[in-house]
Amino acid sequence: MTTLIALIPAIPFFGFLILALFGQKLTRKVAGLVGAGSIGIVAIITFCLAISFFKSLPDVKSYSVVVWEWINTGNLKADISFRLDALSLVFCFVITFVGLLIHVYSIGFMAKDEGFTRFFAYMNLFVGSMLILVLADNILLMYLGWEGVGLCSYLLIGFWYKVPANGYAARKAFIITRIGDTAMIIGIFILFLNFETFNLNELMELASNKWIAGSSISVVTATLLLGGALGKSAQLPLQTWLPDAMAGPSPVSALIHAATMVTAGVYLIARTHVLFSLAPIIQSAVAIIGALTLLIAGFSALAQHDLKRILAYSTISQIGYMFLALGVGAWSAAIFHFMIHAFFKALLFLGAGIVILGLNEEHDIFKMGGLRKKMPVVFITFLIGSASLSALPLVTAGFYSKDQILWFAFSAQSGNILLWLAGIVGAFLTALYSFRMIFIVFFGEVKTQPAFRPGKLMTVPLIILAVLSVVGGYVELPGSIGNIHLFSNLVDNTLPSVLVKNNENQEFLFQSLSAIIALTGIYLAHLIYFKRPALGESINHSRLNKFFERGWGFDILYNTLFVKPIVWLSVINKNDIFDWISISISGLALLTNRFLSITQNGKLRWYLMSFTIGIALILTYIIFG
């Protein structure tokens, strides 16, 4: 049974190889079948392994398998080995199931694109790398998956390569995430040099035994690993790449930039939670970064007028919630929100994809409108997705996951009221911007006529995801409502439970508050963007709005501080200042030549004069020296 784990990352890689090597010779149908089929097979395997895993709980908490010995030199040993435990199982489930739905959708979405086979090759490579990332038993193999998903993100963002701007967006993403990755690799070095192993379980055990909480080395290591997480998950201050990454096709945005790759940071922090527990100051920093990011991104989302950019900032904001949860030690809450977020965000992106494709690549929401009647399925599923995003009370899964985070932000040992306040303001903003989107895009007059109706391949995944966005929450109901803890019981096999201060009775109060806030946000959106669109227009033109729209000026800041100086420095030294060594030597030789050749002027009398002077000097020297 356990050897099946090795197949999980391997099958997508085989899919990639088949599509890459033989893609030109396959028909679209076969290519789509290979691409989506490989993910389908992996989903089935994951399902089987999940059942077997549930059966073997609570005795066996993880399965592991070693595939081959990768590096073994000196005292450095790392193998290609995989481990399946509760945490990686949840991630695998999301990656494979949501991935399968997105692949099926893509067969319809990319049907007319000439790079069809290339698309599925890259998507398979991505899924393979992501699975390696979550299943890796040692941190070096995880880094391999980490970089692999970065590569695939680059390839897929710049998929429509003929437009140069897409290439630049892809490059930006790769470079910014690489900055985080470099911090992470230095963290890995420190871990290796102290504990002489890369194996994650061993590292966590040794760290908890040998390092003192709050010691400088654990703080440094945790900071470095956090750097990596911030890069991949697009949190402050490395969040500028994600909005631009919307240049890729919508399935890419759904899979990579909503459901899976950007949550790799969450996975990393959850996996290495021991290190963060040993550095409480950094863990608090995680929470604060999460809180700040969710606010900044929330405001930015409110000001966008590109449909996908709204969703991008929304993703940044929601991952901020996950970081907030991680920061206060609510590990399973963060993972739960990850799962639910994957459902509704993928749904929203896929829906957005249909809208944009149908309106002939129109991204501006103010040029859309009234699509409620024209694309009913899309409208309903999009509505459900937005409701889940806004945490509509009781009916949507989003309510349960977000509410759990908000509750722990206040009630956890390291939580406090300020974090909760940030979360609740963020919830308000979320409701506001999501329903702004709904009202502007789907209500009102039709400004652009949709050109086509989506087929079954595209709508069925939407429906499935919509269903999941509603029922997915029922595996984890809070104490005051249903007290079902299936999810946290599962995750608690790997991650510690959250420690709470003892104020259970206030839970209902906080829940009602968040419900009221969500409803208020929806109502306000209805008021501004539906009843009185003119008010919406005037907000559009305000200076504050423009500031939010540009992502609070981070792009401009980084451009001036880093990009422009580096480019300037490179360009002025293009011809390499060190060339002066060879230029000066040859210049010196030429100069000497020019001087000495003055003495060779071909004039007889000159030569005679030099003879005479020479003889005179020599004679003087002989006679008097």
Binding site: Q600, G602, K603, L604, L608, T612
Partner: protein
């Protein structure tokens, strides 16, 4: 008979040599350069005669006859060369014949 001290004689020869040398260095016309060389030759010959007189040996006079012969030959060849140069360059200016200069 006046006995001129040998130093004076040698100084006289030396002055003659330097006059020839200066003439060689200063004059641009090749014929005059040849003539100056002649003067230098003669002064060298004169040193030989002075030495012969001083040591009361005939060898000095013998050398002077050698020098005369050599000079004659040398002048013949030099004049032939100068004729060629004149045919080619239409001038006897030694500064004009500087084709061997660097670049």
């Amino acid at each position: 008979m006046l006995t001129v001290p040998i130093e004076t004689q040698l100084i006289f020869a030396g002055i003659l040599f330097f006059l020839g040398l200066i003439g060689l260095l200063v004059r641009r016309n090749m014929i005059f350069m040849l003539m100056s060389i002649e003067v230098m030759f003669n002064s060298a010959g004169m040193v030989f005669i002075i030495a012969g007189t001083h040591w009361k040996q005939p060898d000095g006079q013998v050398m002077f006859i050698f020098i005369l012969a050599v000079t004659a030959v040398e002048v013949a060849i030099a004049l032939a060369l100068i004729l060629q140069v004149y045919h080619h360059y239409k001038t006897l200016d030694s500064d004009a014949v500087n084709k061997l200069k660097d670049n």
